[in-house]
Symmetry: C2
């Protein structure tokens, strides 16, 4: 599939090379594409992705990833423009992290979520929230934790878009369990997991964990 990334940071790089290896045609969208040259040079042949402007990456992908910082995602996507995003599946992996008052909180939570904000801003785009509950290393290698016996969650208003994304998660990354939480408002549930996972991270000292629903 043709996959474009809005954003080119660590998560975009990790997901992009993994998707390329799985056979997808990937373009990362960066504000300064040249800055990724050194990173591109060290990729294996089968992990090759292309890098372009954010606008080029957005035009390239039939499936797009929002891999921008959560607190500036709506602005970054607005720069791309609703016409380019129209009709496309947008996989939102961002978290609206807010450190402004000296502790880690969410810029939006409880009665709203970043996933909903993006869906409201781009009503003709199929926003699917997923992957936002684990580290980028686990996103592309769920088998690295507990033999893959743990859960990923997915939220979105469009059932077909969720099916497409679930297939990518399972086939390209190896996720065994992808739990459909419902419409995009259920993104509140996964975004708000930050409050507990950040504490677990603090006490463990690493992000090599995930949650599993049992029962």
């Amino acid at each position: 599939m043709k996959i474009g990334f809005i954003g080119s940071g660590n998560a975009a790089q990790t997901l992009g090379r993994s998707l390329a290896k799985a056979g997808h045609d990937v373009k990362l969208g960066a504000r300064t594409p040249e800055k990724l040259n050194a990173w591109l040079d060290q990729l294996h042949q089968d992990e090759r992705v292309r890098v372009g402007t954010v606008q080029e990456a957005a035009a390239h992908g039939d499936i797009l990833f929002n891999a921008t910082p959560g607190t500036s995602s709506v602005e970054a996507l607005s720069d791309v423009g609703s016409q380019v995003l129209q009709g496309k599946v947008l996989i939102d992996i961002a978290l609206p992290l807010d450190f402004s008052n000296g502790e880690l909180t969410l810029a939006v939570a409880n009665t709203d979520s970043l996933g909903e904000q993006i869906q409201r801003a781009f009503p003709d785009t199929k926003v699917v929230k997923t992957l936002n509950t684990v580290s980028s290393a686990i996103m592309v290698n769920p088998q690295s934790v507990a033999d893959g016996q743990h859960d990923l969650f997915i939220s979105g208003n469009d059932a077909n878009a969720k099916r497409i994304v679930t297939a990518i998660l399972k086939e390209s990354f190896g996720w065994e369990s992808v739990i459909d939480l419902g419409d995009i408002s259920s993104a509140r549930g996964t975004e708000m997991l930050l409050a507990i996972s950040s504490r677990i991270y603090q006490s463990r000292g690493n992000m090599n964990f995930n949650i599993k629903i049992v029962g």
Copy 2:
């Protein structure tokens, strides 16, 4: 141990009879104690608890449970009075559920929590947040789900109070894994789990599940 309950609803009843069975001296505190007579009559001999006013139950317990509705907990505890609560361990199992705008949200979240509100209101009481992430049936019978292989969390500022409460959770209810998340501000993490557990409840149709940290 002498254990008192602020509140006498379903959770207090379930926890109270289970604690009595484990050998504790339990008193539930009700606004109208007589209303619990029918319930008391059907308890087995070894599950016998006493019922009194909220004030009596608070005076009785060396360990107290806050089992009032979360949105009125601070008020209910203020009625008991900070002097009665002084120096005691208060196990806060409440969730500040807010249905006022037609959907289930939290009355406080993200930058604060009910656990913290109670701790701030009663600085001389040792507030320990726990049990708020599972149904009352699972609270007292963790073995009913996945052979007990799942996690409970605990938050609080006083290490010794957390040790006492952890011992009760393990010895009286059979919890095998109680994860210390840190100080009382980590109650945000467990209270905010409501956003995802309510969605899982909606799709499963039952509350016979819990989460497990794997990795």
